[in-house]
Structure formats: C-alpha cells, structure tokens
C-alpha cells in the first residue's frame, strides 16, 4: 500500500488538468469585490442569488397568489422581505436580490398558474429547511443536513425532486439554439469573418435575457479558444448589460467610419474589451457586439468586430 500511496502522490503532482485562465479569474474576482463593495445594482452573478434564496425561511401553506400587488416584488411576496434574505445570507448583495427577482419573474412568466403556485410554495418550504441547516462559522457558510430529522430530510428530498421537474421546464424555456435565437432576434446575429490565427470556436449558444421586459431579447455568446487564452463575443440588443459592462469600469467611446466603439480600459491586466454599437436601421433594431479577450490589443478587437459586418 505504501508504494501505491507514493504513486498516488506522484500522479497528483504530475497529472495535467485543464488549466483556467488565471488572469481572467483574478480580474473577475476583483470586479466581483468592487461590485460587492459598491452594492451597485447589476444583473449578474446568479450563484449567490440562488444561495440567498436557499437560505430563506418563511412559513408557507399552499403557494403564493398568481396576481401580486404591483408594488410588491416576488421576493417580498415569497420570502417576506429583502432584509430577510440579507439577514440569512451575508453575501447577498442588492444585485443578487435584483437577479433573484428577475428569475422569479421569469418563472412566473413561463409556468402556468397552477405550476407557479406549486413552485413558489416549494421554494418557501425548501427555504424553511435550508434555514434550519445553515449556519455561519468563521464567516464561512456551512450546511449541516444532520440537523434535520429523518422525516424532514425525506420532505426536503421530495421538495427538491418536485422543484427539479419545474426547473427543467424553466431551463428549456430559457435556452435557445443559435437558429432559434436568429428567428427571435430583431437584429442580425453574425459570426466574425476574421479571428486571429489559432483561435477556434468552441462554444456558441444563446439565452433569453431580461425576461422582466415586455419584449424578451436573446443574448448570444461565441467563445473561441487558443490554448488557454479565450476570446468571448457577445451579441445582444443595444443597451443590454452584460459581461463587458460589468468587467470594465473605465470606458472610452470613439468613432471609426461612423461606427460607435466603446473600449474597456483596465490597468495591470492583459484582458481587453471592445464594444461596437450598431444603430437602428430600416430592417433591424439597434444592437451591440462586444468582445473580451486575453492578450489581444484594441486594433485586433476592432478588426474582429468589423469583420462581423462583412456578411
């Protein structure tokens, strides 16, 4: 067994795993910290919002009304108040609450009245149990399911199974193929005819964005990779906030051949970003294409963006 243990250590030391882009990771961490400190409203980072939701504990009987008072948010309706969330999850920011509210709005929009009542009820019941098992130790959130009785554990499992079924419906409603996105978008969805040598398209997908708005609009992502380095292209209706807006605090607008460009500026990082805003035309709504990339300079990003117009 000793030799096997040594071999195991060696394997761990030498085995290669897919490495992340640590520069981008560091940049994202910094941005998250800044957003958290500012408590500025934004629409990203769903993870903590989900965590916030799961920590909630509010009594519930049979779900929430389908028609809520206009002044009352769904977060308030289901969980009592935003303060309730913040009390139970110290990491929940205003932005997370906003995202949570949007997600609940989306669920309400997609689900039938009967499903919504079930969904909201299950969420609250789940929250009640999660509240019971969650505690903070040295600033770290810990979930100890051993605090539940066997019956409670079984109830919770049942709740989550039922939620999972409804989640599948929501997932299905939110995800789009590129072709479907093209049919729904009122702006052109294009691929760049130029990308720097070595970059390969690895992921292309789309989802509906801003489901609270009366007209939902798709957001498209193309991800190219060259080894560990990435090139991310996002396309959406003009004015949508996304990765580009969140990542770059300093932005500089300039015009090239009459087209508006917004350059994201960073200090001490090799991550660069550029957004191109196309005005409304007779046939399309105004739209925007943004790029975030490692190692590429502004001129290169501009060349990529302009190549999306040559189709």
């Amino acid at each position: 067994m000793k030799s096997f243990e040594k071999e195991l250590v060696t394997r761990f030391e030498t085995e290669k795993v897919p490495e992340p882009n640590y520069n981008l990771m560091w940049k994202n961490i910094q941005q998250t910290e800044k957003r958290s400190k500012r408590t500025k409203q934004d629409s990203g980072w769903l993870g903590i919002a989900i965590a916030a939701l799961l920590l909630l504990g509010v009594s519930l009987t049979v779900g929430k009304p389908y028609l809520a008072a206009a002044s009352q948010s769904l977060v308030q309706l289901i969980f009592g108040s935003e303060e309730q969330v913040k009390k139970l999850d110290p990491y929940a920011s205003e932005a997370d609450l906003l995202t949570l509210e949007k997600d609940l709005q989306f669920a309400k929009q997609i689900l039938s009245e009967k499903e919504w009542r079930l969904y909201s009820g299950l969420l609250e019941q789940s929250g009640k149990y999660m509240n019971k098992v969650t505690k903070l130790e040295n600033g770290v959130r810990i979930q100890d399911f051993g605090l539940l009785t066997d019956k409670e554990k079984a109830d919770l499992e049942q709740i989550h199974q039922e939620l999972e079924l409804l989640k599948e419906k929501l997932d299905h409603a939110a995800k789009l193929s590129i072709d479907k996105a093209k049919s729904l978008a009122n702006f052109p969805i294009t691929y760049p005819s130029y990308v720097p040598e070595g970059y390969v398209l690895q992921i292309e997908d789309a989802q509906m964005k801003e489901t609270m708005s009366t007209i939902a609009s798709p957001l498209i992502r193309l991800e190219y990779k060259k080894g560990e380095y990435g090139l991310y292209i996002f396309q959406s209706a003009a004015g949508e906030e996304g990765q580009f807006e969140h990542m770059f605090e300093q932005k500089k607008t300039y015009y090239h051949d009459g087209i508006e460009f917004i350059a994201g500026e960073t200090a001490g990082s090799n991550v660069s970003g550029l957004k191109m805003v196309m005005p409304k035309s007779e046939t399309t709504a105004a739209y925007q294409i943004s790029i975030i990339a490692d190692l590429l300079d502004k001129n290169e990003l501009e060349k990529i963006l302009l190549s999306t117009l040559n189709q």
Partner: protein, 172 residues
C-alpha cells in the same frame, strides 16, 4: 501579504482541489471564484495557517456546490457572466478527453465525496491525518478509516479497469 500575492500563491491549490472534487473545469472555475471572494471578505491576515484554512473553505464550497447542483438548482441560468452556458457540451467533451487519456481524475471521481475529500487532502496536498481531521472537522479515526477505504477503492478501480495502470505510465 496582498490579495494578489495570496492569489498567486494558492490559485493552483484551490483550483485543482475544486477540479478534482467537481470534475468539470467550468464548475471548478466558478467555485474557485466563490472561494476567493470568501477569502478576501474574511480577515485572512489574522489566520495563522493559511493553507489549511483555505482548503477548508474550498472543501465547504465544493460540498455546497455539489448539494446545490444535485438537488437545489432551482432556476435557469441566464447569466453569461458566469460562463455556465455550454457547460454540458464542455463537460461531455472533457469526459471524452479524460476517458481517452485514462486520467487519475476518472478514478477519483468514482469515490464518494467523503472519501474523495480525504484522498485529495492527503495525497494531493500531502497533509497529515491530524491536519485533514482539522480541516474536515471529523475525528482522526474517521480520517484514517476513510483514507484506507479510499485507497483500497482506488487500487481496486485502477487494477480492475486499467491493468498495470502505473506500470503502463512508467513504460511510456
């Protein structure tokens, strides 16, 4: 130590821990991100033994993620920021790659989370049993029994599914 210095020193430890626990690059990146936020929101300057503390947070976040992912995912993910879109495809691609290479992670993944935690801390991070016990907040005896059980399972898995696994690697 500045945040950047701390990040540079432990970024690989955290990411690799998450990767072996979750077996998916995108998930590992997301959880590693959460780990770093928690670290920076804490008073890490006052922590004497940073690595065990950091690994403790990493393990907790991985556990929470596994629980959430397996049972508590309630919403569709609309956030491009999180880069989770395409995870399915990426995961499938990754699994294919891993299978063809017969990487250690394939065997680690087959262990239960409890055994996996102990194996990773002992053999990837090369911590002593008492350190593992402190990080996981379990008795020393439990560490030993889980470690033995994990080793036996790994040995069996490697032996059964990949004859002369290590021998073959040495020959290459």
């Amino acid at each position: 130590m500045t945040e950047k210095e701390l990040f540079d020193q432990y970024k690989t430890d955290i990411y690799r821990t998450c990767y072996y626990m979750l077996k998916n690059q995108q998930d590992a990146e997301d959880v590693a991100h959460e780990v770093w936020i928690k670290i920076f929101q804490s008073d890490y300057h006052s922590i004497e033994k940073l690595k065990p503390w950091i690994l403790s947070i990493s393990m907790n976040e991985c556990r929470n993620f596994i629980k959430k992912k397996s049972r508590l995912l309630l919403f569709a993910d609309f956030s491009f920021l999180s880069k989770k879109m395409g995870t399915q495809e990426a995961a499938e691609h990754q699994v294919e790659q891993n299978e063809s290479k017969k990487e250690l992670i394939q065997f680690i993944t087959m262990l239960s989370p409890k055994l996996k935690e102990v194996i990773l801390l002992k053999y990837m991070h090369q911590l002593r049993n008492d350190e593992v016990a402190a990080i996981l907040q379990i008795p020393l005896g439990t560490v030993k029994s889980r470690s033995n059980k994990g080793l036996l399972q790994l040995k069996k898995l490697m032996g059964e599914q990949h004859d002369s696994y290590f021998d073959r690697e040495v020959v290459e």
